[in-house]
Amino acid sequence: MNRYPLWKNILVLVLVLLGLLYALPNVFDQDPSLEISGSRRASVDALTETTIRTALSEANIAIKSTKPGDNKLLVRFQDSESQLRAKELLETTLGGDYTQALTLSTDVPGWLRSMGALPMYLGLDLRGGIHVLIDVDMDAALAQAMERYTGDIRTELRDKKLRASRPSIEGELILVKFKEADVRDQAIDAINNEFRDLILESKDVDGDYLIQVKLSPTEQRAIKKFALDQNITTLRNRVNALGVSEPVIQQQGDRRIVVQLPGAQDPSKLKELLGATATLEYRLEDTEHSVEDAQAGKVPPGSKLYKTRDGRPILLKKRVIVTGNQITDASSGFDQRSGGPMVSVSLDSQGARRMRNVTTENVNKPMAVVFIETRKDTRIVDGEPVTRKVQVEEVISVANILEPFGRRFQTTGLDSPAEAHDLALLLRAGALAAPIDIVEERTIGPSLGQDNIDQGFASVVIGLALVMVFMVVYYRVFGLVANLALMMNLVFIVAVLSMLQATLTLPGIAGIVLTVGMAVDANVLIFERIREEIGVGSTPQASIYAGYEKALSTIVDANITTLIAAVVLFSFGTGPIKGFAVTLFIGILTSMFTAIVGTRAVVNLIYGGKRVAKLSI
């Protein structure tokens, strides 16, 4: 009696070995490191390594080790503080041609990694980092689309020679006025043909024949989806340009984006970069009309009044030659002639063609570069400060076109090398399709992250030790068996978390601590039952058998209800709650296995199949 068939013992053994194997990677050290990689313009070789080593040793930054790779160098440090100092130092020493990524590197041997055995993925609250939740301004995205359609409708009507008033936007409608009904009807056909996603309605008001244009719900959804997708792409490009390892950029809901950057960063710099909207536009100067007239209020219809950086008014043509969207690559540097900061720009084929055509036609005429940026402007309205987003447009340079432009050219007139650098980065990453707002931020400094790990670890160990002492005192040999199961349970939780690469957070550790407390519950139930059976005079073997048998349904019922709570927590929770739910869920499942099957296997080995006079319980 009380013997497991061989297959069952083997199953337990295999699972235990697997658990140990997949939990193993967590034993190895993880060091904060820098991954320095070259680019087309610069390669990482032995010389670079020497430069880096000298620079770091001169600054008294200790290196643990370096490991060269394919045009890469991995430098490991003792702590994240040296890692950060090193990054700052090397940025100036190596210059902009190298990218540096902050990362964690482990000593996990290759054979383990090839089996997919990796250390647990630590959440930002444990490793430090920045979490921001970004809201995409969908109203602005829709408004932009309306603007675009307004222009398109106007062009379409002009092309078809249908006389109409200038289309205007009122709320969610675009209004176009006609003098004659049949022109209006022709216009409806023309617009319907060209733009299938618009809903048109005709209306007659005071002798005017109107068309009311509305975006169809499908089109609205498409615009929102595009804005979100485009913003995700842009944010990803911007973050990648920063050189952060393992960034997370994800959609959340239908208008939010989560950005998570592990490791220590400069949060203010990051937020500035994420929300930045700077871009460039190239326009021809309007030399046919006088600036003075325009200032007096007589702005010619095809032109717009701008200001240069030093405040001088200038009249530019409304038609844009190329916009920032058509820029495919940009890099910053210094202008060879003037020595001032410049951005070198490459255009896509469409942009390049337009630029070539326009510049060929306008040789010796001045062309202006407009720098556009959205800034926040705060004013006191009725005693309350009100923040508005204001688009600032400044002309940064005006120069005569000496010869037709090609695909690549330079733009000067920037204030500082830093501005040139940031502008190049933003142009490279592409523009945001709609303005964004940071609606939630959680930044954890690296020192707090380490404290959280240490404290979390300490409470797990101390909690576990207290429970184990208590169990041995109370249940003796059976208590030892339960303790074995408890430790195995911990190994399993770590193994499953590592296998799934689920994120371990501080509340997650709390969840583990809690499951340690609750995992013994199953064993307590079983052992109490065994004691009861002994109490009513059953033999030791029969008591063990009945104890496990009778406690089973109770354990399952009790755990399933807790599982329900964990699942609900997971599906409704965000951040901290999710982390807790994950470990609670995993912990309940693994504890059922270790507490029921695991302890039974050991108890059977100790007592099974022999004559036992008395149980040590």
Binding site: V132, D135, P267, K271, T378, T387, D437, I438, V439, E440, E441, R442, T443, I444, G445, S447, L448, N452, G456, A458, S459, I462, G463, L466, V467, F470, M471, Y474, L506, P507, A510, G511, V513, L514, V516, G517, M518, V520, D521, V524, L525, E528, R531, S553, T554, D557, A558, T561, T562, I564, A565, V568, L569, S571, F572, G573, P576, I577, F580, L584
Partner: protein
């Protein structure tokens, strides 16, 4: 070793009136406090900005307030967090600055406190809109957890047990939240998670007792409902207390060693485990007794369908 004699004969149900008065009194106080004083909601729910900095040396709060004032933060509340070197600052929402920028400026100001190197330990900014969503999600989570459990227990046992367990859960949750309200301890997302875990834990306890009650109703030929429930409670008493004790041990470890951030979480669970243990003995069992559970309700229909004569 055994704490209790093998066979305890405590008349739990005999004191159910007293327990009921205690429970009602506790709930009235909890509800009253929640209604009158409200909860000290953390920024997760209210929205706002929080900055935690670590100084190299111990720093006086007056000094920190002073540098914040001169930095333009008039409404900031300042407290030590864990040690006298760590300072937690809560900033009121200022409409002229986005919260994300607010924290940067506050950190600049905090650096002026002359207490050695200042490190940014934590920034939390929650926009008012997100706060509302989190509150709503939290409430929904609680509701769905209760419904899910109600359905499961009704299916596995009987509707009176389901009602009894939910009464016990509401009792536990109300009292736990009530204590947070009464002492104005900050209620944030992690505390909410803990309250939901209390639901899971308290239920665990209740189910174990119910399981035994069901078993004894089927097994014991003699005795009324009250006697059977008493018997079941005595039989499970040792287990109930053991499990509460081990869980409390780890929670105390978490409370003491887990760091300041986890305090609220651990505290909510400690309260929850204490109340949950009490409620699984007194509230849940009293509830099924008062709902009029009888042997006939629990007899497996197929096997022993004829024994309806035991109805009280």
């Amino acid at each position: 070793m055994q704490i209790f004699k093998k066979n305890t004969h405590i008349d739990f149900m005999g004191k159910r009136k007293l327990a009921m008065y205690i429970s009602i009194a506790l709930i009235v106080v909890a509800l009253g406090s929640i209604l009158v004083r409200g909860l000290n909601l953390g920024i997760d729910f209210t929205g706002g900005t929080l900055v935690e900095v670590g100084y190299q040396e111990a720093v006086e709060l007056a000094k920190v307030r002073e540098v914040l004032q001169s930095g333009g933060f008039v409404d900031a509340t300042v407290q030590h967090f864990g040690t006298s070197k760590d300072v937690l600052v809560r900033l009121a929402q200022q409409s002229d600055l986005q919260g994300a920028e607010l924290s940067d400026r506050a950190f600049m100001a905090l650096k002026q406190a002359d207490a050695g190197e200042t490190t940014l330990r934590r920034v939390e900014f929650v926009g008012p809109q997100v706060g509302d969503e989190l509150t709503e999600d939290g409430g929904l989570a609680m509701l769905y957890a209760l419904i899910g459990i109600l359905v499961y227990v009704a299916l596995r046992f009987e509707y009176r047990f389901a009602l009894g367990s939910v009464i016990a859960l509401v009792h536990d949750v109300l009292i736990t939240i009530g204590i947070f309200s009464l002492f104005q301890i900050e209620f944030d997302l992690t505390v909410l998670a803990a309250v939901l875990a209390v639901i899971g834990y308290s239920l665990n306890d209740t189910i174990v007792v119910y399981d035994r009650i069901r078993e004894n109703f089927r097994k014991m030929r003699k005795g009324g409902s009250e006697e059977i429930i008493n018997r079941s409670l005595n039989q499970t008493l040792s287990r109930t207390l053991m499990t509460s004790l081990t869980t409390l041990l780890v929670l105390i470890a978490l409370f003491v060693f887990g760091g300041e951030i986890i305090h609220g979480f651990a505290f909510a669970l400690i309260i929850g485990v204490l109340v949950g243990t009490y409620s699984s003995i007194y509230v849940a069992s009293t509830a099924v007794l008062m709902l009029g559970i009888s042997k006939a309700d629990l007899m497996p229909v197929v096997k022993e369908g004829g024994e309806v004569d035991a109805e009280p």
